[in-house]
Point group: D2
Amino acid sequence: MHADLIANRVAGATLATVFDVVTESAAEMANRHGVRVSASVDDVLAGDIDAVAICTSTDTHAELITRAAQAGVPTFCEKPVSLDLPTVDAALAAVELAGTLLQIGFNRRFDRAHQLVQQAATSGELGDLFVVKITSRDTACPPLAYLERSGGMFLDMTIHDFDMARYVTGSEVIDVFACGAVLGDPAIGEIGDIDTAALTLRHASGCLTLIDNSRHAGYGYDQRVEAFGSRGIASSENPVVHSAVRRDPTGHRGAVMFDSFIDRYIESFVRQWEAFVNAVFTGGPSPASGADARAPLVIGIAANESMTKRVPVAIA
Amino acid sequence: MHADLIANRVAGATLATVFDVVTESAAEMANRHGVRVSASVDDVLAGDIDAVAICTSTDTHAELITRAAQAGVPTFCEKPVSLDLPTVDAALAAVELAGTLLQIGFNRRFDRAHQLVQQAATSGELGDLFVVKITSRDTACPPLAYLERSGGMFLDMTIHDFDMARYVTGSEVIDVFACGAVLGDPAIGEIGDIDTAALTLRHASGCLTLIDNSRHAGYGYDQRVEAFGSRGIASSENPVVHSAVRRDPTGHRGAVMFDSFIDRYIESFVRQWEAFVNAVFTGGPSPASGADARAPLVIGIAANESMTKRVPVAIA
Amino acid sequence: MHADLIANRVAGATLATVFDVVTESAAEMANRHGVRVSASVDDVLAGDIDAVAICTSTDTHAELITRAAQAGVPTFCEKPVSLDLPTVDAALAAVELAGTLLQIGFNRRFDRAHQLVQQAATSGELGDLFVVKITSRDTACPPLAYLERSGGMFLDMTIHDFDMARYVTGSEVIDVFACGAVLGDPAIGEIGDIDTAALTLRHASGCLTLIDNSRHAGYGYDQRVEAFGSRGIASSENPVVHSAVRRDPTGHRGAVMFDSFIDRYIESFVRQWEAFVNAVFTGGPSPASGADARAPLVIGIAANESMTKRVPVAIA
Amino acid sequence: MHADLIANRVAGATLATVFDVVTESAAEMANRHGVRVSASVDDVLAGDIDAVAICTSTDTHAELITRAAQAGVPTFCEKPVSLDLPTVDAALAAVELAGTLLQIGFNRRFDRAHQLVQQAATSGELGDLFVVKITSRDTACPPLAYLERSGGMFLDMTIHDFDMARYVTGSEVIDVFACGAVLGDPAIGEIGDIDTAALTLRHASGCLTLIDNSRHAGYGYDQRVEAFGSRGIASSENPVVHSAVRRDPTGHRGAVMFDSFIDRYIESFVRQWEAFVNAVFTGGPSPASGADARAPLVIGIAANESMTKRVPVAIA
């Protein structure tokens, strides 16, 4: 998806080369877009490129970020950097040493509706921020095999919401209380994970954030953010797949929501790439930096502790 | 309904007495509200009252308006004054001679949503007014016996929309093209009436008004007004009976609209009475005057001619 | 308000008599509705009445409930019975002994939209219930003098949401975690209360309820309930004061929400009385019983403990 | 736009070659998508292609359709075929003789929301169809130089609505009454055109269609279709550019509508191409045939006559 977007829909970007350990995938992608296949990561980093996009499996992110930084190449990397905090810190240290750009794939920051909520919340339009509410529910649960390696709901799924909480409030989280449950599928409990969660975050600013998550929102991929302050509220509602409505004696009917993050967030991915291109060529700050990658991981680790101990846990 | 509203819900108003040719009805109403029954219309008009409300059958309106005017009593009268233009003119002449207040029951002028459309349209907020669209559809057709005496769709039903067109635009209608059809029930055609209509009005200001009507809107009592000008649009949508919504994998479902004018417009009736009370005690102008009663009748008569001759008909 | 509703808008009910320690108020009310003033509570209870409505100050509720029960009179009482649990228990014991009807004024149970959410949640339409979300925010903070005697936010305001959580889920609460803050007005903190809260409830069924409260929702009286289950969601949105909308090059604008509970919930008060009348004359169960009055108080007391100790507190 | 869509977003389609009388444009397009430039129309039609897309200026459409038909090549052509009816007929005769596929670019037929309205209207879901309402307003008026060659509002703009009226009702138009006005810009009147219109169509089925048009909808590109029948209504509302909303004490604010047909209808263009690809490879019927191209032109010519003569004009 990312290669196609870069090649076709991102103004100012051109796909230069592709590398994949699955060589057939690399060949197909290169052929589709008329670019060459690189023989190795080194080959990519040594090429005539302005930036690199790391869209590999999670366990390779930290090393690839480090190598790109050492090569002085501006880097986009899918989240998470790693589920292991020291590994994250080592990679971020390499980036800091090199002084290169690093942008993490928190694409929801580039969703136009969430952005407007953030702007209303941080610009003073909403006055003093009191409460943020984030609902994030997946249409269908991923396979158990995926979940077993995912780090658990808070590091795999809620991590986006922790990022959103920091993004919308502009304030760090000071403690978290997390309550988890297995309500939709006992098999998830058997592998030690949860499928339903309710969390309360307190921010340094005093603002409270409530998050609720589910793996089983059969009615659609549900992603809402609401910011409430002394002057009003701003919220991002769920877009629906078409704008037709019907009325009959039983009431009003309208469209379903999108059922996958790709359909829901495709515009945000394009805007994410546009923001990256802009940061690369203007030398501007990263709109989703290494620090932004690290903080939600720390909150997620604390949330796991909170759920286990049944107490709020402070963020170091 | 009117007596109950006056007695219970209209600030500044008190029910003083009631008269009804059906003496049982008068007695019941008087008893319910602890007031006396008047023996005659003269008795009512000679009593210690500030104003009179005429809510009788249509064929008595003109005479009662005339008698109230001659008695110098501010008068509210349900629409229409009469279906016969000379009769209307005679009653209005009596009112003009007496210099009394006359307010006609065009309650939709007091619906809060329609009022906001009118204010947007006439205050300059919408800029130059281009197009007004009025949809007015009844949930269920009245009995044929009623329709036979109603004067036909344009004088019975569309007359409210002609009033709304004048009210919202603040501009007189100069011609009308009317297209009628019998689509829902052939019996309506057999008595010489129609159940579906589309009309185009041209206003002195240049603005065009499109009206569509139906007697068979099974999905609910549908009343919408939209005003479109150089700076934007304002529209009144249909309220629904509750604010609950549901989502499942088939989409979104919401409430039905109201199915009767009483439920839809109850607040407008209260506001109509409040406006009347205000006009009585301040001596202010009527918010729905005799001229406002006459003009829609003239348009309706022209609409009937247009439908028959299949040409636009100018309003004298 | 209650007397006016009973006298004018509740089918099947008639106002028989009034008593008020402020005799002028009683006289005015009696005069307005053409009924006699009772000389005492005993006089009321000994009269020819089918039921009594206790709408006095909170500190008199328990005693009056007890006396009505002892007189064998079906009783409606405004919430709360008392802020003191033993006092509540004594009153409820008197009711149980007498076998009389007791209905507590949790009017939100009679809001049509909340009712539809409850029906969807408890009828199986939503499948297994996963998460309930309740937002309850007041437009403006009551006077400090009121707050000082109110028992604090959880007993004064959130108590309605505790009731709603039980009502919508049909499941008892087993523990509560409460997080409170003073974000809108430091004076509220100075009297030992809070103005902002986030709570997580766990139900016996496994369902999680998230509640957020504020005393400072300047944009309107905000009352929303959402129930999410394996088959979909049902939610009650906020009604708005009119149905007009406007569009211009800056976007879309619509009406404000209601700003007071009376305007927002007036229909629910009528329906509450209708339900009471029905229970009185059919001998049916109370739709908001003494047990329903007691349980939210117990949760509120636990919530206060949770907020203080910063741990979840189990409900006995 | 069409070449980019075909190359990048239409499943089953590949761009084979391009030809443009402006050779630089052809070269740039060919280069961008890695295809060769054809030297002439003959060169294109003689090539190894499955179909041809005619996206040239209107005055070339009829001749190119004819040549493609004679070459036996399935053809997509932008609307209109021609503003001259005999020219249209000659081209359609060539297509009929050749038995080739011809699909006209009425992209709105492929808008998902309009399609759902059409399906509801023609499947019986809405029962007997009574009234269709079509609103079609451009955000900003094209340059006068364009308008002078456009054939006038009814052939340039309303022609889409005439198509929509036939598409949604599934019934031919039997007569039209058209009312035009110059309300937004006198310069449009000076070149003999109008900028505002209201039309009433009668269909063979009895259904009435009301159309309103404007060249000056500064609030956004406004495209709505509503179908009303004995069992309910279906309507396509305007999508908006994002799903964020705000509330403050002045009310509710939401997003603007799209301001151009490209943004509003981009998905419909992709779906139009997918339908064409499907028709080419399955040999299925054209979803927007030559007859569908001819009928709206005939209605448009009648509408011009109606506006001039101020009478309804029958469709031959």
